[in-house]
């Protein structure tokens, strides 16, 4: 009896893992990322899974919605206590973000101009569907979640799923009122990524232990821990530029030499997902709301620029006439100049940060700035040392 049942299941397993021929039009990068567990099931398997999910999800939905109601009632009370304080904080934050947005507007406009010139096709997220997580697969080897939205809400397999923090995964299977979300931490999952600083491309994959890794890059001294990782768009699932996480550690991969295992700390907390956004539509043009925001930011930027020009006209210039060249930018984006005498301000490398810098003394003495060591380095009772040459 046991042998018969096991044998039947082994045959069923063999039939399920037969891979269908790949679509010839699928790019090689996307093909490399696809695994057996990430692809939707075949017709008969899909039917079995549909029955199982249909039997289970109504119960999950009922339990989830009642727990949401209870938590919501308590949460509403607690939230009301801090509403006024949060309101003031949010107003301040909106004002700060408006200023930031205005300062980024020119860069964004220049970026879009360059993209148009190069014929680069950008995809913007135009529509999303918010969904709630109602359950898990219940297996530590399968990093799958169930959402309360399905095909009747416009969801389809292979749609990208995100949170405001970053990428979460993609839709694997869709049922009328439910869908299966495959997390990026699943071993069968994959996404094309770019390391934000070094612009190195890689493929991020899940592991059996639930970690997220890039395992197709060789050792490179430029790759450092803490570097942000964003989607590359090469997998045709995730739009370009979505945050994936940051590099947590880099170590040689003993199983796949000469590659390194670059462990990623995901931007979204995959263990505590409550609500997610399913990207249902992308477009090559900027969405209307974003375009309006960009226009507002540009207008603010222009207004700020005019105000700065007016002030500059009324104040005496500290630069020599005709020297209008902008300072070179350093690695951290702050302006840097090699010539200390041309600096204006108290700190080297930062212009307009205070009064004009004094010229270095011809004969330094103990009163010359920079010659005396700081008080923390002095020893009480020690003999006075000769004045040093001022530090530049």
């Amino acid at each position: 009896m046991l042998i018969t049942i096991v044998l039947l299941q082994v045959i069923a397993l063999a039939m399920q893992v037969q891979r269908p021929s790949k679509d010839a039009e699928m790019p090689a990068s996307a093909r490399a990322m696809e695994d057996a567990g990430s692809a939707p099931d075949g017709k008969h398997v899909s039917l079995l899974r549909r029955w199982t999910v249909t039997a289970m999800t109504p119960l999950e939905t009922a339990v989830h919605s009642s727990s949401v109601k209870v938590r919501g009632a308590w949460g509403n009370y607690v939230n009301l206590l801090h509403t006024r304080q949060q309101d003031a904080q949010l107003k301040n934050e909106v004002a700060r973000l408006r200023e930031e947005e205005a300062s980024f507007a020119e860069d964004a406009q220049q970026g879009r101009r360059l993209q148009t010139l190069l014929g680069f096709k950008e995809s913007y997220v135009t529509s999303t569907v918010a969904a709630q997580v109602i359950g898990t697969s219940g297996s530590e080897r399968s990093h799958v979640l169930y959402l309360d939205k399905g095909s009747e809400d416009g969801l389809k397999p292979e749609m990208a799923v995100i949170t405001p923090d970053g990428v979460v995964g993609k839709i694997r299977d869709v049922f009328p009122h439910t869908s299966q979300l495959l997390l990026i931490s699943d071993p069968s999952s994959g996404a094309g990524v770019i390391l934000a600083t070094t612009r190195i491309r890689g493929i991020v994959k899940g592991t059996a232990t639930g970690r997220v890794e890039i395992d197709n890059l060789t050792a490179d001294s430029r790759i450092k821990a803490g570097e942000p990782v964003v989607t590359s768009g090469g997998d045709l699932v995730f739009p370009r530029g979505l945050p994936v996480g940051t590099i947590e550690s880099i170590a040689p991969d003993p199983l796949h030499q000469p590659y390194t295992a670059i462990v990623i700390k995901t931007a979204a907390n995959l263990n505590r997902l409550e609500e997610v956004l399913v990207i249902t539509g992308t477009s090559a043009a900027l969405p209307p709301a974003a375009a309006q925001d960009a226009a507002t930011a540009e207008a603010t930027q222009d207004a700020n620029q005019r105000a700065a020009d007016l002030i500059a006209e009324k104040l005496p210039s500290l630069h020599p006439e005709g020297d209008a060249s902008p300072p070179a930018a350093g690695a951290d984006g702050k302006p840097v100049s090699d010539d200390p005498e041309s600096q204006v301000g108290g700190a080297v490398g930062y212009i307009n940060s205070g009064l004009p810098r004094p010229k270095p003394a011809v004969h330094p003495d103990k009163f010359t700035p920079g010659t005396v060591p700081p008080a923390t380095e002095l020893t009480p009772g020690a003999p006075a040392s000769a004045p040093q040459k001022p530090q530049e």
Partner: protein, 174 residues
């Protein structure tokens, strides 16, 4: 009143269950297994359907019933994952068969025996899953992590004792 003569442990300690309990208990275990890790992620290491499989197998003491119960529970679990159907089905089917066979030989009402049985069969299931994933499906990314498996088996033992005590109340002597 007719007298019954018991000739073996199987006849002495064989129990049955109400059909409602037979269906609902594994279903509730699978439901809790799917829902609890959403709020408490560390609970993913506990396998409630495995505990239900072992309980029903050792209570009925029928290898056929144990195999069928384990297989059905395992297949239901497979339906909620992204794995092919049969991975958990095979593992839990074998566990059900072994648990029912052991039920003949030992007193499974004893707490120490129950703990030993759940611990051993949890480890056996982990080994079976590794063999199925690594050798049958060719999934080289699947790794057997002894420490994690030991912790899972211990956690299953902790949960199994009260769960067995609750399920014992629904037993009906055949």
């Amino acid at each position: 009143m007719a007298e019954r003569s018991y000739t073996s442990r199987e006849e002495l300690d064989q129990y049955g269950f109400h059909p409602g309990v037979t269906v609902m208990a594994p279903l509730v275990c699978i439901l809790l297994q799917a829902m609890l890790p959403k709020t408490f992620p560390w609970l993913i290491h506990i396998d409630l359907p495995l505990i239900a499989t072992i309980f029903f197998a050792v209570s009925r003491r029928s290898p056929i019933a144990g195999t069928v119960t384990g297989t059905l529970i395992g297949l239901f679990q497979d339906g909620l994952t992204n794995h092919p159907f049969g991975v958990d089905g095979i593992a839990k089917g074998v566990v059900g068969y072994v648990a029912a066979s052991i039920g003949f030989a030992v007193d499974v009402d004893n707490i120490i025996n129950r703990v030993g049985l759940v611990f051993t069969l949890s480890m056996a299931q982990s080994g079976l899953l590794y063999v199925i994933a690594h050798w049958l499906l060719g999934d080289v990314s699947y790794r057997f992590l002894p420490v994690v498996e030991l912790i899972s088996a211990a956690a299953n033992c902790v949960v199994a004792i009260p769960m067995f005590a609750v399920l014992d109340r629904f037993r009906i002597r055949d």
